[in-house]
Amino acid sequence: MARKVVITGLGATTPIGGDVPTMWKNALKGVSGAHTLEDDWVAKYELPVHFAARAMTPALEVLSRVEAKRMDPSTQFAVVAAREAWADSGITEIDHDRLAVAFATGIGGVWTLLDAWDTLREKGPRRVLPMTVPMLMPNGPAAAVSLDLGARAGAHTPVSACASGTEAVHVGLDLIRAGKADVVVCGGAEAAIHPMPIAAFASMQALSRRNDDPEHASRPYDRDRDGFVMGEGAGALVLEAEEHALARGARIYAELAGTSVTADAYHITAPDPEGLGATRALKAAMFDGRIQPEDIVHVNAHATSTPVGDKPEYAALKAALGKHVDSVAVSATKSQMGHLLGASGAVEAVLTVMAIYDRKAPVTINLENQDPEIPLDVVTTARDLPAGSIAALSNSFGFGGHNAVIAVRSV
């Protein structure tokens, strides 16, 4: 019998809230975090996309200038979210050799990398900062969180594009089940609202171009969706072996019942049109958590708002849940906060845990004309979830054909 793992702490910094209480309040209300970018580089490089969803609270309002100086913006977000989750867990005493970190990023320290390149070209090699390498490395967020909390049972960095944050939760569950740690701080962080990634995602036609109306640009499942909206931020969860949490009388949000990771092996960016890899991931996560389709009351969907992405996810949900798919309250929270790339799965894991704990499904905004080919029961005003034992799923899919799913159960 595998060790049971529970969630005892939550943290987040996102475009709709600089902490979990603010984010959750807004997620139930239904707000948009997308706004026109005021940066001069938008016009300078004639970017085809003029908006994004910035973190509501800049990391520099939370961290001191000196501590932020040695961190890429992605790492700053990671530390902000991880500190909130840690404080929220109420853990005061811990065997640091039994505390691990699994913190993901999709892209890594892209601001640091490109700033250093600009510096090299404009001022020469002498002016490239000595902290450049530790700031740009993708394991920067995991390392900084480990350093901040004194986590010595390993600091891991799963990288699987937009599935990274969910895969970090998967890694965290495995670490505890395998007996390699008793507590894991897991999550994901991303800070890629920089002209180069915007140009690159726009070039592959992945971004919405609704420049005159950013608040309505992210519209998963809507007939007129035209791409995702870049977001930034971080989400963090404290996972804990159940016996460890019970021994200290912890407040338990929910059980992390099961997780899974699969690969499409179909195409480097396009999702398998039938969603076969996603279906296998959904079934595997439910099997791992000993969950039946009928137990699922809520899904936090990946639903990025791209024309090609939303449909295969529906096919996968239908294949994995069968007829029960019609009875599941589906939330597409990227409608509110945009797509946080490698952080999205972690933030959505936080939202899924809150949904189970608070028994409320968060809102999908901008759904005006639902795509008739995706007849899901989409939550457009906050909805109560049933009493009794309930479970929910959160999906994430990433370029490269990565599929990651977590299953959360009420306690």
Binding site: S64, V66, R126, R127, P130
Partner: protein, 81 residues
Amino acid sequence: MASNEEILAGLAEIVNEETGLAPEAVELDKSFTEDLDIDSISMMTIVVNAEEKFGVRIPDEEVKNLKTVGDAVGFIANAQA
């Protein structure tokens, strides 16, 4: 040409920017590592910023000889002379 007092004040400003230490804590007899707790990466950042501020070149092999704030002020003053 900056006076030693001006170099010290400029250096204190750079140290403050990098580490958050109060500028008045940056005194001539203070050791960068022992007293001010500055690690090698911060020291390199301070050196490069000092080069730009004072228009001098501080070779990498010279940095290890700059043990105290006074050593750095002296080096910069000489290099400017």
